[in-house]
Subunit: 221 residues, 2 copies
């Protein structure tokens, strides 16, 4: 198995929540599961630590990273900035075909909204945001976006998502599509920022709290 694959597999395990935030990462066990020895596993863990998904405690092994409220806020802030930038760039570079594809995805998403299918809605939602970032045509930006959103998603926050809130989100998405179609970069950036800000408020208000103790205190000692 290639190095990049090992990283990907472990990342997936973390994102799936199979190893919950704060939990120790069982080296020996993962080695058996992936059929590799500790050397490549540890290389992957170091990479994931640099990405922020894993915390390395010197001489005490590695744990799945835990996010504080502050971390979450910071990640959302950066995510806003990246999406706004992506929106502006996308408006300069997006092709008609790409816009059509996003419009189609938007239609699907609205249908899932009408069906009340939150899971599918989220999936479509994410696809649209990713498509915009892709349309920006900037791999560096895309890479950072992927990494930041992965860390956010990692949190597996469960927001109640009131009907009102959901309706607003869909309305915002209408505006997003509209701005894209008009290729209004500045407008799109504003909408995306507001959209993300709302999402963040939602998440943080829902009482996001992954660190319930000083379990990781040694790290800051």
């Amino acid at each position: 198995m290639l190095h990049e694959d090992v990283v990907g597999r472990i990342r997936a395990i973390l994102l799936d929540g199979e190893i919950p935030p704060g939990a120790r990462i069982p080296e020996r066990e993962l080695c058996e599961r992936l059929q590799i020895s500790r050397t490549p596993l540890r290389e992957a863990l170091k990479v994931l630590a640099a990405e922020g998904l894993v915390q390395l405690l010197p001489h005490r092994g590695s744990r799945a990273a835990k996010l504080t409220d502050k971390d979450m806020r910071d990640l959302f802030e950066v995510c806003q900035g990246l999406e706004a930038l992506a929106g502006e760039l996308a408006c300069e570079r997006i092709t008609d075909a790409e816009i059509d594809a996003i419009a189609a995805a938007h239609g699907d998403m609205v249908r899932h909204y009408r069906d009340g299918d939150l899971i599918q809605y989220y999936r479509g939602n994410r696809a649209i945001h990713e498509a915009i970032v892709t349309a920006a045509g900037n791999p560096v930006l895309a890479g950072l976006y992927t990494s930041v959103t992965a860390r956010i998603r990692r949190a597996r926050y469960v927001t109640p998502m009131t009907p009102e809130r959901w309706a607003v989100a869909v309305k915002e998405h209408d505006a997003i599509l509209n701005a894209l179609q008009r290729r209004d970069g500045v407008g799109l950036a504003h909408i995306l920022r507001a959209h993300l800000r709302h999402k963040r408020e939602e998440v943080l208000q829902a009482g996001f709290a992954e660190t319930e103790g000083s379990e990781l205190a040694p790290r800051f000692a």
Copy 2:
């Protein structure tokens, strides 16, 4: 030596240009120099590869990353976005003391400008930008900024920096300081974006070209 230190040492070697872009990274040699074995060295190289400073060619070792014009443009674009975000956030959170410190740094920088000391000017310039990012109070943002600017700086571009261009840059910095003092986040973001855009044009116009062949072609095969 701690893992993080190894990463830092190698990063420094790359940033100092001691291993030029595109050059192979001599594992054995670095091991001797850092007095470590290949295992921790390779862990560090994998991390640096994830950061974009190193390219791993499977079964063919690692090289110092080379930047194309496109890479450079992408990095500058993201840098603009990050700085603009940092500027906005900084205006919300910066303390009077921090503003005073930046004002002082600004004064120093202008003095270096008057003295025609480009090196010191650059140093002061960088310090100001970093101070703004720090004032944003967002470690995630700061981390990404550090990584992106490192990759840009790695390029060791040599811009002629005409007197006109230099004068404009200093004027822009006046405006930056002014916006900060007025805590005008939106204004600051605009100025920073323009400032970086100019810098990017300058660099790219100077005919930035780190990849003069298809030396790295195998990677894309």
